[in-house]
């Protein structure tokens, strides 16, 4: 990779998390030996953090959602020309998910611990899926300043991203995933040949799930809660080393 106009573009694409793993590594290698390019990257980062810190986001006024729902509802009532009978069936059909959800809640809530099991199963499935589909990362970078911002706008929370390369658990990248009916952040680490998925999502209620460990289908899962976030680390890595990663992440 040589410097100049194309390299400058590449640098911005790198900053924006738009490069694949191979290209990212090329850029990172180049940055190590090229003073002007790494200075340029710092300038880009300075601008970005100025934009991020400035609370530039305009929040919609509370009344806007009500206004929209009212307007959308009006249109819907006008459309109700298909006859009452059809509408009733649709109402019944529309309420089925609600009934199902209520039924699930009634069944699930009294059996508190099984919630942990359910989540662990989902977490292991997500881990396996990420390996089978060879879709381990959406953003491949060992730079937490690339991985963390990548989640902006994709999730309604911002996960803490640590690089533990110094501890032998280098960050490989991040990915969006879906667990327990919500979008979650998946941070991907590597220990020698073992990929590790760390799933993160907000959990304001401390009693919702217990910290703990389990082992499912040959995969080890460690769960903990920290600063309002639920973490689940999954890997085929042996429990002691996985525990070490969990400890490092909780530092």
């Amino acid at each position: 990779m040589s410097c100049g106009e194309p390299a400058a573009r590449l640098l911005e694409a790198y900053l924006d998390g738009e490069l694949d793993l191979v290209r990212s590594l090329e850029v990172e290698r180049h940055l190590e030996e090229c003073e002007p390019c790494s200075a340029a990257l710092s300038r880009h980062r300075a601008l970005r953090s100025a934009l991020r810190d400035a609370s530039l986001y305009y929040e919609p006024p509370k009344r806007l959602e009500d206004r929209l729902r009212t307007e959308l509802g009006k249109g819907s009532k006008a459309a109700k020309s298909g006859g009452l009978a059809r509408w009733r069936w649709q109402a019944v059909a529309a309420s089925l998910p609600v009934i199902a959800a209520l039924a699930w809640a009634l069944v699930a809530i009294p059996r508190g611990p099984s919630n942990d099991e359910l989540v662990s199963q989902e977490v292991v499935s997500a881990h396996v899926r990420s390996l089978m589909a060879q879709h381990l990362t959406d953003v491949a970078s060992s730079d937490r300043h690339t991985v963390k911002p990548w989640f902006n706008g994709k999730l309604d929370f911002s996960p803490e991203v640590k690089d533990l390369a110094g501890d032998g658990y280098p960050l490989v990248g991040g990915r969006l995933d879906y667990i327990g009916g919500r979008g979650v952040a998946a941070l991907v680490y590597q220990r020698e040949k073992h990929p590790i998925n760390v799933f993160v999502w907000p959990e304001p209620d401390a009693r919702a799930a217990a910290d703990g460990e389990s082992s499912l289908r040959g995969y080890n899962v460690i769960r903990w809660r920290r600063s309002g976030m639920r973490y689940s680390a999954v890997s085929d890595l042996n429990p002691p080393e996985l525990r070490e990663l969990a400890r490092d992440l909780q530092r």
Partner: protein
């Protein structure tokens, strides 16, 4: 993509018609913009529509507010965009709902700024705009982090709308280049070069503000 392009073409058409009506209209425009009966959704579709698109209202409002520059226009644009979205929802095949909605929001805002209000400067685009030399930026560039929220806001406000929108889509909404290309209906290469120019201009504008000079 073809679907989106066709849809947005229609959106602009519809928008022009509304503009003519709105020039004579008194606020609130809502009464004019109510969907006709044949555009509306049955209860199940409405439920799906709300579930799919209402979660993106925050992004819709933020983009509209940055493009139109006033609270009132932003609210009207968001409402109009949602009503247009109802009309085209049948053609939405799932996929990236946020980008789909923001495309409509952007086109709706466009019809507002074509009326000459709220737009700010527009520029002769990319080919004619000289690139700001990155090397020309001094080391004080690193002091950008010291810029106050107000200064950053003003510098971004001062950008021509074509540049402002790519910065908002990328930095505030976190859209990928591909999604930005969809929303702005530009090739990815153009998105990248416009974003690079926008960032260079923004840095320059901020530096001028930090040095105490007025832009």
């Amino acid at each position: 993509m073809r679907e989106a392009a066709r849809v947005s073409g229609e959106v602009v058409e519809v928008g022009r018609r509304h503009d003519m009506m709105r020039l004579r209209a008194v606020r609130p425009a809502a009464t004019l913009l109510r969907p006709r009966a044949e555009d509306s959704l049955d209860p199940i579709e409405l439920e799906r529509f709300e579930r799919t698109l209402l979660p993106h209202m925050r992004a819709a409002y933020n983009l509209a507010r940055w493009l139109t520059r006033t609270d009132q226009d932003a609210e009207d644009v968001v409402q109009e965009a949602y009503l247009r979205a109802v009309r085209f929802f049948g053609g939405f095949r799932g996929g990236d709902a946020k980008a789909w909605l923001l495309t409509i929001v952007r086109n709706t805002s466009h019809s507002v700024w074509q009326r000459g209000r709220g737009a700010g400067a527009t520029v002769p685009l990319d080919e004619d705009t000289p690139e700001v030399e990155d090397a020309a930026l001094g080391p004080e560039d690193l002091l950008l982090q010291k810029a106050s929220g107000q200064e950053v806001r003003e510098a971004l406000e001062a950008l021509p709308v074509e540049f402002r929108e790519v910065v908002v889509l990328r930095e505030l909404e976190g859209l990928s280049y591909k999604e930005m290309a969809e929303v702005t209906q530009l090739p990815i290469g153009t998105v990248m070069s416009r974003l690079a120019r926008a960032r260079a201009r923004l840095r320059l504008g901020l530096q001028e503000r930090l040095r105490g000079g007025s832009a």
